[in-house]
Subunit: 208 residues, 2 copies
């Protein structure tokens, strides 16, 4: 790929790979750009540009080879040494993240979870060991964790983010509805589910 891919491009590549992985499981060998475009919600031209950028070649008659495509996307998306993530906050949302991820990505796994509830500490939740909050910095350092998922209440989110950063985390996925103050060296993305639902309700009201 010429130059680093943008935020939007990385999102699309991730989505393509997931859709293609499902096709591998169903035994499909080939896929056309327009098919991938339809499920990914982009244009076929966009799919072809993205595939060219990751070095994947298709044929107009047979499309792309699905397995090769997954390989090309993985070279672009994955750190060859793998990425390790920590989940902070083992509530329903945290468990949803664990169950989505555990064992599905060879190169990205949630290797530790943290919660302040003593009865969760020491347990294995959805395949992931839960530690106490006091252990956070040490575990993050020991396990070389670079990604943090914040699924704690808003009031605790900033302190968690700062501690994760100090321990070496360089990417944060934040579900707490609050703007985090983090250093420019750390990449962060916010998912505000409550805001999203309120917005959908707002526009649904206008459409009813």
């Amino acid at each position: 790929m010429d130059g680093p891919p943008s935020y939007e491009t990385v999102g699309r590549l991730s989505r393509y790979r997931r859709l293609l992985t499902r096709r591998v499981e169903t035994g499909s060998e080939g896929v056309y750009s327009h098919e991938l475009a339809a499920v990914a919600g982009v244009s076929a031209a966009q799919v072809r540009r993205d595939m060219m950028a990751v070095g994947a070649n298709g044929s107009p008659t047979r499309g792309y080879n699905v397995e090769k495509l997954v390989e090309c996307l993985s070279v672009e998306l994955d750190d060859p040494e793998g990425s390790r993530a920590a989940l902070v906050g083992v509530g329903n949302l945290g468990r949803a993240m664990l169950s989505f991820f555990q064992g599905r990505r060879p190169k990205l796994s949630i290797v530790a979870a943290f919660d302040r509830e003593p009865y969760k500490v020491g347990r294995v939740v959805c395949g992931c060991r839960c530690y106490s909050m006091d252990e956070m910095s040490q575990v993050v350092i020991d396990k070389k964790i670079t990604v943090g998922i914040i699924a704690v209440p808003s009031s605790a989110a900033q302190a968690v983010a700062s501690e994760l950063e100090d321990a070496g985390v360089r990417g944060i996925l934040n579900f707490a509805p609050v703007a985090l103050r983090i250093s420019p060296e750390t990449f962060s993305e916010d998912i505000d589910m409550t805001m999203a639902l309120e917005r959908v309700a707002y526009f649904a009201g206008r459409n009813s």
Copy 2:
């Protein structure tokens, strides 16, 4: 407000209200635009423009009255008759949505949940009754539900979306990682948590 607010504006208004609601609970009377800006992650000038647009007046010395601000935002955001939402898929993610929402918004509530697992049907989960998938259309019509939350696996998402639309839903919050085909009259927003985590991991790798 002059003209309909944009997608981005509605998101900000929702976020302001949530942050302000927390201040009401802690007994704060006044708030300055720069304080709200810091927690919402926008500029103070943006906050002042948004507040002016919803008809809220502040004073340079005392700031805005918190309760009045919440009122102005609610007039803009809420349907006076209330919005009713349905959740489809009562897994960890669905339960997270239920626990975030139940009882917190006077004008927006999740009034029905649906799942295909027989052992969930008839139960009350996080304050919300769970129905079987077969009952979906009828319950959506009977309860005048206009908002749908799709938290089912990708393979089932399109069928659920179509059935919700046919039953009168005009806004869909979709957590399934697949592009839904819905009519232009329905507003939809996608939240792809897996893609978001992969993207954070990607950029964290570049920053490490």
